[in-house]
Amino acid sequence: MVTAEAVWAALDEIPDPEIPVISLVELGVIRDVQVDGERVRVELTPTFLGCPALEAMQRALTEKLAAVGAQPEVAVISDDSWSTDRISPAGRKKLRAAGFAPPAPRAAGATTLVQLNSKTFRCPYCGSTETRLENIFGPTPCRSIRWCASCRQPFEQFKTI
């Protein structure tokens, strides 16, 4: 008999395909787990729609659910329910330790250039806020590139959505 707790624990072992230091549960993309006997339905919500890791996540979830003895159903929900605010405190810590600056909290309105150019973004290497935006875009849709003037290190900053 599979329990919801066991499913959550198992899913917490699945690393994010692009940033394997954090799990899909820590990333906040698992919206819901429903257990009905052997059948387990998991709702997955994409981070960015342009993220090519979505299919890898679906596959990893299906395999993991099968491995714990469940009949898996993975539903992708493309609505506004995922936000970078859903990344857990433990996930944020791991991101920073791996050199990725965690996202700023979602503000009431849309992000502005003034906000991106403000001194609120902290370098994940030295902790300084003397950082500047180099490029809104980076190696994946979810990240920007910033430069730390204190330790002279470029770093990747998670975009807030």
């Binding site: 729609l49 090519p52 493309s78 609505d79 506004d80 490029n135 809104i136 875009f137 959505i161």
Partner: protein
Amino acid sequence: MSARAQRVLELADDELILDWRDSERTGIAPTLEEDVAFSSIAQNEIGHARALYELAAGELGTDADALAFDREPGEYRCAQLVELHLMDWAHTIARRYLYEEADRVRVEALKRSDDAELSGLAAKIDREETYHRLHAEMWAARLHDEPRFRAAVEELWPYALGVLDPELRPELARRVGLSVESTQAVERGEHRPELAELWSEMTEVRRSAPGQQW
């Protein structure tokens, strides 16, 4: 085809074709930063196109790849703004700016839709588009006093109007400071010869191996 499916396909086709045009900058943008920016924007637009095609495909009994690649060029519903093959920087930025402004007006309207699937997806797209808009705004501000940029915006204005239904056009005009009254919009429906060329390149691999799974 329902009005809903047609509406979703218009949006999906705009995103897919503009994605293709934006990705033409990959490797040859004027600066490395813009190379990264255009490539990333293009990648995200393809994600929007895919989610929209999947929404339409459920209703039409097909799949996203078939909608994206198996139709004839004449069956696409994209606006001519996204079809134009523009390789000079002033026009490239003018199109990005005008498209993002038009898309903002359209997506805002879709977010208010009674259709929960459509309004939910529009809200998700809207959040991600924020970053495309910031990029366009930054360039529009930087090039504001550049005569070549102003001329490109005016030249593309009739095409930008054609992205939107007539009732949404005054809002776009207000946002970019141009006029609806004195301009004949380039409406959807007719396609430019460039679309067939783009389609031929875009679908070449898929046509070469029909039914193949990638």
